[in-house]
Each structure stands twice: as structure tokens, then as C-alpha cells.
Symmetry: C2
Subunit: 253 residues, 2 copies
């Protein structure tokens, strides 16, 4: 049994708590956060911890706080000897180098408050300061997820940037379309099957091959009509993305 202390009370911490609690071979010992009220997701009251002095010795400490707060927490967290790992996509391993055993445990997924996520399908990207610690992290991670990857700090930064494109920017495409639908008296839900299928498609086709649309066909009439329909900011986005699709596919501009 691997005992885990979770540091933090945000979405990642809450999802870690739920999934570790449900996993065989892992156990949440405590969840630490300065503010008690944010710990309401910790159903077992005995496991809530608001004072560093009350922290116990555990096998694994998972720091799931905002990127900016990791250094501060690392600075004040006592070294109990257990492995201390942060869960950030953008922070380097060395942020935790004050500890004897340290690593990274980055779940590559988007977490929201009211939507359950099953970690079995969440890629866990691991890094550690020694081969032994990496083995230990892999052992813990594989009790949670079927998708365990060894990813170094440079690669993790690249992954985090890729995640901005596929998550933040794609979601913004949905948001712009939702605005546009509203403007035209259309229910956004009419686009939901298309959104779902677009995401599902790339499980069988590489996104390069899945590309369709007026940019790829270089359908100047439709592109022109679309640009006429858009306001200045959206027109810029439409133009730059159309050019980028054409460039990637080696079309003449």
C-alpha cells in the first residue's frame, strides 16, 4: 500500500483525491490546504489538514497547487524522506531539488469542478531525480492509470504547449462558434455532434489526414463569403488559420 499526501485543494487535487481513494494499492493519508473550507471535497474529516505541523510521514507527496505557488510550498514543506512530486506541465523537475527524493507527476488532462474524470485513461507523465524514484513513481502511477509515460522536463514543456493548442485554443474555437450561433438565433447544441466527431476522428486518422474544409480545398469563393460574414477580430483569426492550413498542406498562397 502506497500512502499519499496531497497538497492543494483545486481541481487537480480534488480529482487526485477521488481517484487515489478509489484505486487499489494507493491510499490518501491527508490532504493539505491552508484554508479549511476549500477541503470540503475530502469526505473523511480526519484526512483534512490545514497546518504543516500536522503533516505525517508518507510514501508520496503530490503538490497540486497553481504553478506560481509550487516554489513557495516546496520552501515550507518539511522533508519527511518520502518522494515529493509536483503535478505541473510547465515547471521543471529542479523546482523540487531541495528534497532528497523528488519528481514530477503530470496528469495531461483538463479538469473541471463538476465533471468526474477516470484516471485510467489519463496520461501520467513522470520524471524523477533517480532511476529508483522513477520506478517508484511508475509503480504508483500504474495503479491509477493505464497510460504512464516517462517524459523529461523539456518534453513536458513541449507537451504543455501542445495542450494549449488542442485544449485551450480548440475550446476557444467552440466559444467563438457559440457566440456566432447566438448572434444568428441558432442553438449551439446543433454543433455538438460535429465537435465530438472531429475529436473522435483523430483516434483513427492523423489530424493532417483528417483535415477538410474550404482552406484545404482552396475554395476561394467560400473563404471570401465567410470573411464577408465576420467581424474584424474573427476575420483575422479566420485568415491566419486558413493560411496556416494551406501552408501545412503545401498549397500555394
Amino acid at each position: 500500500m502506497i500512502n499519499v499526501v496531497i497538497i492543494g485543494a483545486g481541481n487537480v487535487a480534488a480529482h487526485l483525491y477521488q481517484n487515489i481513494t478509489a484505486a487499489d494499492g494507493l491510499e490518501v493519508l491527508q490532504v493539505y490546504n491552508r484554508t479549511a473550507e476549500h477541503l470540503s471535497f475530502v469526505k473523511d474529516l480526519k484526512k483534512r489538514c490545514t497546518r504543516l505541523e500536522d503533516l505525517e510521514k508518507a510514501d508520496l507527496y503530490l503538490i497540486a497547487v497553481k504553478d506560481e505557488a509550487i516554489e513557495e510550498i516546496a520552501g515550507i514543506l518539511p522533508d519527511f524522506g518520502g518522494l515529493v512530486a509536483h503535478t505541473s506541465g510547465s515547471q521543471p523537475l529542479k523546482t523540487l531539488s531541495k528534497f532528497k527524493n523528488f519528481g514530477v507527476f503530470y496528469p495531461l488532462q483538463t479538469f473541471s469542478k463538476n465533471k468526474e474524470i477516470n484516471f485510467r485513461n489519463v496520461p501520467l507523465c513522470l520524471e524523477a531525480n533517480s532511476a529508483e524514484n522513477l520506478e517508484f513513481l511508475k509503480k504508483a502511477a500504474s495503479k491509477l492509470s493505464d497510460k504512464v509515460f516517462e517524459v523529461n522536463s523539456e518534453q513536458r514543456k513541449a507537451l504543455h504547449l501542445s495542450a494549449v493548442f488542442v485544449n485551450n485554443f480548440s475550446n476557444h474555437m467552440y466559444a467563438l462558434a457559440a457566440e456566432y450561433c447566438k448572434l444568428n438565433g441558432l442553438p449551439f447544441k446543433i454543433l455538438q455532434p460535429l465537435i465530438k466527431e472531429t475529436a473522435a476522428k483523430i483516434e483513427t486518422l492523423p489530424p493532417y489526414s483528417a483535415q477538410t474544409g474550404p482552406a484545404l480545398r482552396n475554395d476561394q469563393k467560400t473563404i471570401h463569403d465567410h470573411l464577408e460574414m465576420l467581424e474584424v477580430d474573427q476575420k483575422k483569426i479566420y485568415t491566419i488559420l486558413t493560411q496556416s492550413i494551406q501552408k501545412l498542406h503545401g498549397k500555394k498562397l
Copy 2:
């Protein structure tokens, strides 16, 4: 039983053929295309038709050809009296006004050659030249799909443009991420669960509320780090989308 003639042999025609063949109350009478070899998806040889002279009287003619070819086909297709509808998101209803009974039957989905699509979940956007013809189209459409919408030509154009954002542009975000992963020795599949969850999220949350990431948090350090990692074209895309997210969420730029 509603008899249907399909005109065309592309992805939309092939998916219509499969779904109409499988549907109760609908039957494919013929599939027309000038080039015989493109009709290989029509398993029943008797239903393949390569000469306009051989076309038969049917209740419904569905024109599923490229946008540019609709006018030409409409020009040479005899008027048998059955309802003639095109399946395009961008062409107006009036393209078919030479017929007595005409309409639009626009399936709002992305179709690929080797990926089956169940039409029950495909929004069918309908328009017709009379209330009676619209009722007939609704009757036919509801035998295929649970998502039947009445959408006028202007709204359909707006939907088509929205589809470019949620499908073409989102897919391009995936494609850029795939390129970037390759460059950094990372398998693209590591991003697939995130892509799927990003698309699934907006079934329970409006995309505006589902937004996360450095742009929304106005996390200048991460934004700066990301821009440093990108080449000039991708840097422009990152910048314009970051600004657009911040503008939509009313952040100061």
C-alpha cells in the same frame, strides 16, 4: 416507403447510401454518378446509374456533390416531380428553383471515407420551397436522424461558418500540435484523451465556461515561455488566439 435517388459518389453520398439503406421507411432506388468506378460503394449493382437517361421517378432526389457542381447537376437533371434537395451548407435554397419541389437536406457532420457515421446523431438541417415540402423532408429526415432542424438559408450559412471554426480550425490545432510533438520526440497519442475530453466537456458546460489555460489566467510568464518556444507562424497564431480569449473574457490586454 420513401424512394430516394442519390446524386453523387463522394463521402456524403456514400454515407447517405449506407444510412438510407439501413433505415426503416426509406429506400435507395438509384445512385447516380457519371463515373462508374466511383460507385463501388453501391453494393446492389442494379442501383448504380451512370446515365441521366436511366434515372427513375422517385420521391426524393438528394444531390450530394461538390458545391461548385450543384448548379451544373441541377441544370441537367430532369424534373420528375419528386422533391429535389441539395446537401450543402453554403449553397442557398434558390439554386434549385428550376424544380417544382425543392429543398435543402444538410447533414451537419464531417464525413471520412473509412469511418462509419450513424445518422441518428447527425443534425439534419432542412429547408424547402413550401410548407408541404418541408413536412415531407421532415418526415424523411426523421427516419434517419433524431436531430432534425428547420434552418433557413441565412442561418445555414452561419452554421457552415461555425462548422469551419469547430471542425476545420480545431482539427488544425490538433495538426499543429502533432507537428510540434513530432519535433520533440513525443507520441501524438499522448494528447488524445485531452482532445476527447475537451470536446466532451462542452456537452455539459458552455465553451465560455469550459475555458482554461494561461490566456484566461493572464499568466504572462507561461505565455512568454510558450512564445519563446514557437516558430514565427505559430507564434502569430498563439498571440492572436491568446488575445481573442482575453477579449472574449473581458480581460485587459
